[in-house]
Symmetry: C2
Subunit: 1000 residues, 2 copies
C-alpha cells in the first residue's frame, strides 16, 4: 500500500484537485478568523450574481475550543480547507467525493455519510442548509448551500465545502491524535504547533485583559465605520473580523454575559450587514466584473425534453423517483407522511385508476410506485346548463344567438341542445362529452406540480430555477412501464437513470422499466422501505449486542433517526476504553446518541458496557476500517468529556452561582442568578399552598439554591441537554444530600413531551416554581409566546406545570400560585397580562387533556369551564365525566339537570331558598332531595361525587317539572322556586359546566 499522504501533501493535493476544477487558489487570510467562511473570498464573494470558484486553506481560530493540547482533535486553531462553488455546478457532492478519493479515501472502504447540519452564523448574518460529512463517524467536512450572507439573500446560491484537514489526515494516517499525524515525513503536527496551542490556551483562558480588549473592540468598531464611510470596504470588513476575534477572546475568557453577548452579536451582525450591502452595491456600480467568468464557472442548461413516444393502451406500472442529496432524517419521515396522502390524491386528480400504490423514501430518494395504472382517463359526459329556454328560442321556436353561441362554445351544433327544467326554471342544456386523455399526458403535466407540492419545514434553493426543496434534486426517474415520462423540474430532466448507493460511487444505473426498479436498487443493497430498514437495523444491532451478552436500551427516537440516515444499513460494534465508564452514564449516552447516533449497550444489570453499536451505510466490506474510525471519534469525544468533567470538578457547584450573574435570563428579569434566587424564595409559599410538610419544603429550598448552578459548568455549556443531570452528579460528588441533589435534576422536568416528571415533592415544588417564575415574569415583561415564536419555551413550561400537578394529583388552584410567583417578579403582572396568562394556561390544559385522555371536546370544555386552572381536578373531572356520558341514563340525568339550569339561566338575580315559603309538597320534596345531595358534597368533591349524589334525585326533578309552574304569578313563590333550581344548578359549580355538553 502506498504511504498515506502527509498533512502538507493533503493540502497540496486539494489545491491541485480544486485548481483542476477551475477554482482560483487563494491564501489564508492575514486576520485571525474563526472559519474560512470569514475570509472575504467567501463571505463577500458569495454576494451578488457574479460567479466564483475558489479554494484555500484557512487556519481557523476558535479560542473556546482550546484544550491545552490535551484533546486528540479539538484545538483552538485547526486547519480548514475551504471551497466555494458559485453557482452550484450540479454535482458538488460528487466533486467532493472525488477529492477524497484523490486523497486516498476510497468510499467503499469507509462509511461516508452526509448528516444533516444546518449552518447559521448570526454574527455574519448568514445561513445555509447542508450536512456534516462523516467519515466513519468523524465529522470531516461541512457541506453547505449558502442561502444568505451578510443579511442578503444569495442568488445564485453558493456551495461551500469546508474540510477539516486534521481529521482527514488522522483517518488517512490511522493516527490516534492530530498531534501524532505527520505534517511531513519525520515532522509531526505537534512539532509544528503544539506549543502554540498550549500557549494560546493560556492566553485565551487566563491572560487576556478583558477591559483593555473591550476598548480595542470599540475602537475597531469605529474604525470599521470610518473605513466604510471612506469607501474602504475591505479595511472595514477586516475590522469586522478583528472585532469578531476579540469577541471570541472575551467570550472564552468568560467575560460576556448573555445580554451583553446579544448586544455584541447585534453589533457584529450590523457591521457585517453594512459591509455586505456596501460591497454588493460597489460590485453593482462596477458592473459585476466577474460576470465575464460565466463561461468558466457557469453553464446554461439546454434540456430538450423528448416527446412521449406513443399513446398507452394498456395499464402499466408507474414509477417516480426523485433523487436528492441526503435529506435530513426528519424530512424523510415528513415526506413519507405527505406522500401517503398526496400520492392517492395525485391519481385522483389525474382521474387514473391503479392497483397497489407504494410510497417510499430513503435519505437519497423519494419514490412512488403504482401498479396497473389505467392507460387513459375515463371519458366523461356532463350536462351543462345554458341560457333560459325563453331566451334561447325566439317566438318562432328558432334558436337565438344566445343558444347558438352556447352550443358553439361547447363544440356542439345548436340542434344538440336540449330543454330541461332545472330548479323550477326551464333552460337549454348541452350534453358535453370529455374524452379521457392518455394517462401519460396527464402524468407528464401533473408530476412537476406533484413534486412542487412536497413541502418541508426548512427548504433551500440551489440553482437558478430558485426552486426550493429540502435538499437539491439531482435526478428524476419517471417511467410509464419502460418509457420515460419526460418533464423538467428544478433544472433536472426526468429520465431512466437512477443513482446507486453513495459508497459504491453513486453509479448511474439504467432502469429498464418501472418493474425493473426494485431489482436495480436491490442489487445496490438499498432498502427502499423505511419499515424494512428499521427491521433490518433492529435485527442487526440486537444480534451484535447479544454477541457480547448485552442489550440495547430502548430508544425509538434514535432508531427512527438512524433508519433515515442510511439506505443500506450494516451495523457494526466498536469499543471504548473501560476507564471512560467512570464518566456519568448520561454523559456517555448523550455523547453516543446525540453526537454520534450510536446505540449504547447495557449488560444484564443495566450497566453500560464499553461498547457502542453504529450503523454504516453500505455493506460489510472493510468494516474493520469503519470500526476503527468510529472508535477513534468516540475516544476523542470522551476525552473531551473527561476534560470538562475534570475541569468542572475542580470547583464546587455553588461557585457557579456568581458566574450566573453574567448569564442573563431576560433583560428585564435579570440574570440566571436572579432567577435562581426568585425560585428559591418561591419554594416556601408554594410548598405551603400545596400543603407540603416543612421537611420537604426545606429540601426543596436547598435544592433550589443550587438549581441553576450547573449552567456554569463546562460540561453543561458544551452539552446543554445535561443540565440538571450534571448538577445532580456534581452535587452528589461533593457530598450533597441525595434528596437535595435530586431536586437539582428534577426541577428541569419534564424537559419535553414524553419526558419523566419529578417524583419527589421537593422536586415538584422547585420544578413548579421555576416554571411559574418564567411564566409570570415573561408575561409581565410582555413576552407571551406568539403563534410561531416561543423563544423561552413557555408552552413547555405551562405543560410542565399541568403535567406535574395532574399526574401527582396535586389539587391546587394556579390562580393563587400565580399571585405568589408574580409577587416576586421585578415587574408587575397587570390585570390584562394576568388574564392573558390564565387563558394561556387554560388553553394548554385543554390541549393536554385532549391528548392525555379520550374525552370528547365537550367534556373537556365542560370541565375547563369550571376547573381550567386546577389541572389535577380538571384531569380527574374529565376522566369522570367521560365515564358518565357513556351511561345509558345519561341523557335523562343531563336533561333534568339541564332543565334546572336552562330555566334559571335568564335570571340576573340569585335568590335564596326560603323553605317555609314552599307552597307545594313537590317543592319540598325536591328541596329535601337537593339537601341530601348537598350534604354529600364538600369543596373537594369532584364531578363524579356530584353526579353520584345527583343521579338519585332525577325523579324528584322530573316530578317537580311535571307539576309545578316555576314562573308562578306570585313573585315570592316564583323566586323561591327559582332559588331552589338555582341551588340545584349550582351543584356543578367548581366542578364542571354541564351546559357545555352536547345534548344539554
Amino acid at each position: 500500500m502506498a504511504q498515506p499522504l502527509s498533512f502538507q501533501q493533503v493540502i497540496l493535493k486539494l489545491h491541485q484537485f480544486w485548481a483542476d476544477q477551475g477554482c482560483a487558489i487563494w491564501e489564508p487570510y492575514n486576520v485571525q478568523v474563526g472559519a474560512g467562511t470569514g475570509n472575504p473570498a467567501t463571505l463577500l464573494r458569495v454576494l451578488g450574481p457574479e460567479p466564483w470558484r475558489v479554494a484555500y486553506v484557512e487556519p481557523s481560530v476558535r479560542p473556546d475550543d482550546g484544550r491545552y493540547g490535551e484533546n486528540p482533535n479539538r484545538m483552538q486553531k485547526y486547519y480548514q480547507y475551504q471551497v466555494i462553488l458559485k453557482p452550484d455546478p450540479g454535482n458538488p457532492q460528487e466533486l467532493y467525493l472525488q477529492s477524497l478519493e484523490a486523497l486516498g479515501i476510497n468510499p467503499r472502504e469507509h462509511d461516508i455519510r452526509f448528516v444533516e447540519d444546518n449552518w447559521e452564523s448570526p454574527a455574519l448574518g448568514a445561513w445555509g442548509l447542508g450536512w456534516e460529512v462523516w467519515l466513519d463517524g468523524q465529522e470531516i467536512t461541512q457541506f453547505t448551500y449558502f442561502q444568505q450572507a451578510g443579511g442578503l439573500e444569495l442568488n445564485p446560491v453558493s456551495v461551500e465545502i469546508t474540510y477539516g484537514v486534521e481529521r482527514i489526515v488522522l483517518a488517512l494516517q490511522g493516527k490516534n491524535s492530530a498531534w501524532e499525524i505527520d505534517w511531513m515525513p519525520g515532522l509531526t503536527y505537534a512539532d509544528m504547533i503544539f506549543n502554540e496551542e498550549v500557549e494560546y490556551c493560556r492566553y485565551y483562558f487566563d491572560i487576556a485583559d478583558v477591559e483593555a480588549l473591550k476598548k480595542v473592540y470599540d475602537t475597531y468598531e469605529r474604525e470599521m465605520g470610518r473605513s466604510l464611510e471612506g469607501d474602504a470596504l475591505i479595511a472595514a470588513y477586516d475590522y469586522v473580523l478583528k472585532c469578531s476575534h476579540l469577541f471570541n477572546v472575551l467570550d472564552t475568557r468568560g467575560a460576556i454575559g448573555v445580554t451583553e453577548r446579544a448586544v455584541y452579536f447585534r453589533r457584529m451582525r450590523d457591521m457585517t450587514r453594512t459591509v455586505a450591502k456596501a460591497y454588493y452595491e460597489k460590485r453593482e456600480t462596477l458592473g459585476f466584473p466577474l460576470m465575464k467568468m460565466k463561461e468558466h464557472w457557469d453553464f446554461e442548461r439546454t434540456n430538450v425534453l423528448p416527446v412521449f413516444p406513443r399513446v398507452p393502451t394498456a395499464p402499466a406500472h408507474v414509477l417516480l423517483e426523485i433523487g436528492v442529496e441526503e435529506l435530513p432524517a426528519s424530512d424523510v419521515d415528513d415526506v413519507i407522511a405527505h406522500l401517503t396522502k398526496a400520492a392517492p390524491a395525485l391519481f385522483e386528480q389525474a382521474k387514473l385508476t391503479y392497483e397497489g400504490l407504494e410510497v417510499m423514501a430513503t435519505p437519497r430518494r423519494i419514490v412512488i410506485s403504482a401498479k396497473q395504472v389505467s392507460p387513459r382517463q375515463p371519458d366523461e359526459e356532463q350536462v351543462v346548463k345554458g341560457p333560459p329556454a325563453a331566451r334561447a328560442f325566439d317566438a318562432a321556436g328558432n334558436p337565438t344567438q344566445a343558444a347558438i353561441g352556447f352550443a358553439k362554445g361547447k363544440g356542439l351544433d345548436v340542434s344538440a341542445l336540449k330543454r330541461e327544467t332545472i330548479d323550477g326554471g326551464e333552460y337549454v342544456t348541452a350534453l358535453v362529452k370529455t374524452e379521457g386523455r392518455p394517462a401519460t399526458n396527464v402524468l407528464i403535466e401533473l408530476l412537476p406540480q406533484f413534486i412542487a407540492g412536497i413541502k418541508f419545514g426548512k427548504v433551500m434553493r440551489w440553482n437558478d430555477t430558485n426552486i426550493a426543496f429540502s435538499r437539491p434534486i439531482r435526478w428524476i426517474v419517471a417511467l410509464w412501464d419502460d418509457v420515460v415520462l419526460p418533464f423538467d423540474y428544478a433544472g433536472v430532466m426526468s429520465a431512466r437513470v437512477t443513482q446507486g448507493l453513495r459508497p459504491f460511487g453513486s453509479l448511474e444505473l439504467n432502469v429498464k422499466s418501472s418493474a425493473d426498479y426494485a431489482r436495480v436498487l436491490k442489487e445496490q443493497g438499498i432498502i427502499l422501505s423505511r419499515e424494512e430498514r428499521r427491521a433490518a437495523i433492529m435485527q442487526q444491532i440486537t444480534a451484535l449486542a447479544k454477541e457480547i451478552n448485552g442489550t440495547i436500551p430502548n430508544d425509538p427516537g434514535l432508531l427512527d433517526e438512524v433508519v433515515n440516515l442510511v439506505e443500506a444499513p450494516t451495523a457494526l460494534r466498536g469499543t471504548f476504553e473501560t476507564r471512560d465508564l467512570e464518566l456519568p452514564r448520561d454523559v456517555l449516552v448523550t455523547v453516543m446518541r446525540k453526537h454520534q447516533r450510536y446505540f449504547p449497550v447495557e449488560d444484564a444489570s443495566g450497566q453500560l458496557m464499553p461498547y457502542f453499536i453504529a450503523v454504516r451505510n453500505g455493506n460489510a466490506e472493510h468494516l474493520d476500517k469503519v470500526i476503527h474510525g468510529n472508535e477513534h471519534v468516540l475516544r476523542a469525544r470522551f476525552s473531551d468529556a473527561r476534560y470538562f468533567f475534570t475541569q468542572d470538578l475542580k470547583k464546587p457547584l455553588i461557585d457557579g452561582l456568581p458566574r450566573l450573574e453574567t448569564l442573563t435570563f431576560q433583560e428585564k428579569l435579570g440574570s440566571m442568578r436572579d432567577k435562581n434566587d426568585r425560585l428559591t424564595r418561591l419554594v416556601a409559599p408554594l410548598g405551603h399552598l400545596l400543603h407540603l410538610p416543612d421537611a420537604e419544603i426545606q429540601v426543596a429550598q436547598q435544592g433550589a439554591a443550587l438549581a441553576k448552578a450547573d449552567l456554569a459548568k463546562q460540561m453543561v455549556v458544551e452539552m446543554t441537554s445535561l443540565q440538571g443531570i450534571m448538577g445532580r452528579e456534581y452535587a452528589l460528588r461533593e457530598g450533597t444530600a441525595p434528596e437535595v441533589a435530586q431536586v437539582i435534576f428534577e426541577h428541569w422536568l419534564p424537559r419535553g413531551a414524553g419526558d419523566q416528571l419529578p417524583q419527589s415533592n421537593a422536586g415538584r415544588i422547585v420544578a413548579l416554581a421555576d416554571k411559574l417564575d418564567s411564566l409570570t415574569g415573561l408575561f409581565a415583561a410582555g413576552l407571551a409566546p406568539k403563534a410561531n415564536s416561543d423563544p423561552y419555551g413557555l408552552r413547555r413550561s405551562a405543560l410542565g406545570i399541568i403535567q406535574i400537578l395532574a399526574m401527582s394529583q396535586t389539587d391546587v388552584d394556579l390562580n393563587e400560585a400565580l399571585t405568589i410567583a408574580a409577587g416576586l417578579q421585578p415587574l408587575p403582572l397587570n390585570d390584562q397580562q394576568r388574564n392573558q396568562l390564565k387563558e394561556f394556561l387554560v388553553g394548554r390544559l385543554d390541549a393536554w387533556l385532549s391528548e392525555a385522555t379520550d374525552a370528547p371536546r365537550d367534556v373537556i370544555r365542560a370541565v375547563l369551564a369550571e376547573q381550567g386552572l386546577n389541572p389535577s381536578r380538571a384531569y380527574r373531572g374529565v376522566q369522570e365525566l367521560s365515564q358518565w356520558i357513556t351511561r345509558e341514563d345519561w341523557a335523562v340525568i343531563l336533561d333534568n339537570f339541564a332543565r334546572c339550569v336552562r330555566i334559571t339561566r335568564p335570571e340576573k338575580q340569585i335568590y335564596s331558598v326560603r323553605p317555609e315559603a314552599f307552597t307545594e309538597s313537590l317543592e319540598r320534596d325536591l328541596y329535601a332531595a337537593y339537601q341530601s345531595v348537598a350534604a354529600k358534597l364538600t369543596p373537594d368533591s369532584g364531578i363524579n361525587d356530584m353526579l353520584i349524589a345527583f343521579a338519585p334525585i332525577v325523579p324528584a326533578i322530573q316530578a317537580f317539572f311535571n307539576t309545578i309552574l316555576v314562573h308562578a304569578d306570585e313573585p315570592a313563590v316564583r323566586e323561591n322556586r327559582l332559588a331552589l333550581l338555582q341551588a340545584i344548578s349550582g351543584l356543578q359549580k367548581g366542578r364542571a359546566d354541564l351546559s357545555e355538553l352536547s345534548g344539554f
Copy 2:
C-alpha cells in the same frame, strides 16, 4: 511554447519544489505581517541549534508602499514566497536557481544577478548579508544569510529566500503590470485584489484614526507583556506583530516623528528580543526537540583530504581560486587591493620565488596565479649561539653536559660545535642547516591562513565552521601545475573543479592544470581581469550609445560598480517612454544609476534621451528578453517617480514646513522645522561676518526658509539623495526666484567627497549655517562623533565648511562663527565642548589639507598651529609655505628665523622694544629691518607676504647674532634685545608656527 504558469500555479510549483527539498510547507500567518520574516516560522524557528526547513507564501503588508493601484508592481500588499534553510545546505543558490527553472525561467534566456543587499530590521533585532536577485533588472528575490534575529546571534545561520511572486509571474507572463497577470486562466490579479488595494490605500493614507490606534498599540504592548509573563510565547509574539503593523499604519498616516519613531522602534525591538530570548530558553528547556530532524536537514561533512602525491622538483605554475557566492562590488575592489600586497607577502613568507604574479577577482572568484614558483624553499644555514665556552668545556677541554645537550638539541654531534667570540664573550656556536621544504608542503600549510587573512568590511558566517567571509566560499581550486594542493577551509576541500558562469548553470568544470585555468574560464566568457572587464564594458556601452547618436555621461563610480557586478559583460540598450523625460533629470538619473545601475544616455546637447544602457552578465543570446525585462522594470520605477512627482506638486513647498515639526532632527535640538528656523536666523549674522552684501543675505534668508521643506516631499522621502534637488525643482515650478531656489539646492553641498560646492554666496552662507548649526548643536548635546560612529555625519559637515571656505577663499575665523551658531542653540555649548569642537575642526582641516595639497606634514602642522580655524587662510598658507621650503635659501632663512625664536622661547615675559635703549648699531639695524618688515604686513597678510618681507632681513639677523650677546649682563639691555627678537619671532603669529617645521 508552453503556456506560462499562472500566479497560483507558480505558488503551487514552488510548494512542490521546496517540499521535494524536504521543506515543511507552512501557511501564511493569520496576523498582518510586513514580510514573511515576521512569520514565527521564520523569526522564531531560526533561533537556536535546531535544524529547520520551511516554505510558505506570505501576503506581505506594507502600508506605505500603497499607490492606490496606480503602480504596476508596487502595492501595499504583495505576495512573498518564503523559504528557510537551516543550516545552509551548501548549495542554496543552486537550489534557488533550480526553482526558477521549475517555474520556466531559463537562466540562459535572462540576466539573473545576485546584487549585494544587506538586510536589517531594527524592529526585529535582525540582520543578514546577501543579495537582491535581479531578473533582467527586476528585483525578484531577497536572498539572505541570517546572522542575527531577535537580537540573538544565529548558530547555525539560516538561509532565507524571499521570492516576490508578482514580479516573477510578471516576467513569466510578459505582462506590463502586476494587475494584468493571470491569477488563473481568465482571472487577473486585479480581479482578485485591485479593489482591496485601492481601498486599503484610502484607509492607510486618509482614514486610520491615529490617536485611537496609538492606544491600541499600547494595549497590545501590554498584552504582549502579560502573555510573556504567563508563558504564552506565541501569543506574545503575535502582539509584537500586531504592534508592528499598527506602527506601520501610523507611520503611513504620517503620524510619527523621528524621535517618536525611534522610541517605537526601540519598543518593538525590545519586545522582539524579549520574546526571542524566551523562545530560545523554552526550546532549550524542551531539549531542542527538532534536533531529531538533523538527519533530514543537516549533514556531517566527511572531507578526507588526499595527500599531495609527489615532491615537486621543477618550478611550476601555482593557481588559487576561491569560489564564492556573489561578492559585493566594493568587496571585489577591496580584495584586489588586499591581494596586491598579500600575495607577494605570501610567497615571501613561504620563502618561494616566482615569476609573474597576478591577482584577479570577479564577483564569484578570487584568484592568484603565480608562474615559475620554485619547487622548494632554499636550504638555510644559521649560526646559533650556545653556552659560554667556559661552561661548555671543562678544564680538560672536554665538552660538558651543557655542550652535549646544546649540540644534541640542534641535531649535531658535539664535535661540530665551534667557539666564537660574540659581543666580546666566547661562546660555543652551532651551524644549523635548515633544509628547504617542498613548496607544495609549504603552500598547503599557508594557503588556508592566507585565505583567512582576507578581510572585508562586513562579514558573515554561513556554516558550522563559523568562519567569516564576505559571502560563502563554495569551492576552492588550488593547483600546483596539474596537481591539487589539498587543504580544507571553511568546510570546503580544495580541488580542481571550478564553476562556470552563473547564467550557464555554474557548470562544474575540471581544471586540468593551473595553466589550463585561463582557457576554462575564457570558454565561459568570463573576464577575470577587472581592467579588461572595464575596458570591455566601456567599449560596448559607448558603441551602443553611439548607435543612437548619444553619449554616456562620465560616471566612474557607476562604471566601477558595474565592472564588479558581472563576470561576462554584455551591454544592452533599452528605451523608456518619452513622456518620462518630463520628470526632472536628476530623478531619472537617480533611478537609473542608483536603483538600476543603468547608464543614462545624453544627446549632443547634453539632454537625456529616452534610452538606458545596462550590462548583462552573460552572452548576447536572448538579449531581447533581457531588454524587455529591464524596460519593464524602469517603466515601473518611473511610474512610481511620476506618482510622487504628481503628489508632491499638489501642495506648495512651504506646506512641507509644518510637516517637519514631526521630523525630529535630534531629541534635544528639536525638529527639522526648528533646525530650519535656526539656520534661517543664522544667515544674517553669518552673512555679516562674511561681509556679504545685504541683497545676497536676503536671498540666502529666503532660501534658508525653504531649505529643508522638501524633506516632507514624497520623492525625497523615497529617494533621499534628491533632497535639495527636488526642493529646487518644486520651488522653481511654483515661481520662486531662481537664485532663491538655487539656495535650497546648494545648502546641502557638498554632499560627500568630490561633490560640487555651492557657487552662490547665498548658497554658501546657508550651507555653512546648516553645518555650523549641526556641529554646535550636536556637540552641545554631547553627540560629538566617535571613532566608529558618526551618525549625524558631522565629519562631512566639518569638511563641507572647510571646503566651502577654502575653495571660495572666504577668510573667516570659525571661532566667531561658532559663537554665533552656538548662541542660537537650545543648549549651551560649554567651554569643554567648544574646545572639543575646535579640535575636531582643526583635525578635519588637517586631514583635508593632507589630501588636497602635496604639502608635507610639518608644513601643515606649522600652518594649522596658527590658522587651524581659518580654512581659507590655512589652505593658502599651506600652499605658500610648501613653496618656500623648496627654495635653496630656505635653510638659511628658516635657521635665522629659528635663532630668533629659539633664544626667546624660554622667556616667560614679553618685553617691549625701547629703541632708545639699544646700545649697538647692529641692534638698531636689525630693529630698522624689523620695522621695514612689519610695515609691509597687515593682518590679512599671509605666510608668503611675511616671508617675502622677512627674507631680506636675514643678513641683518646673521650680523646681529654674530656680534651681539643677547644675554647681556645688564638686564635692561638684555630685555631690550629679547624684545627685538620677540618682535621678529612674532612676525609668524597668525600665519604659521615655523617651529613645527623640520630643520627648525
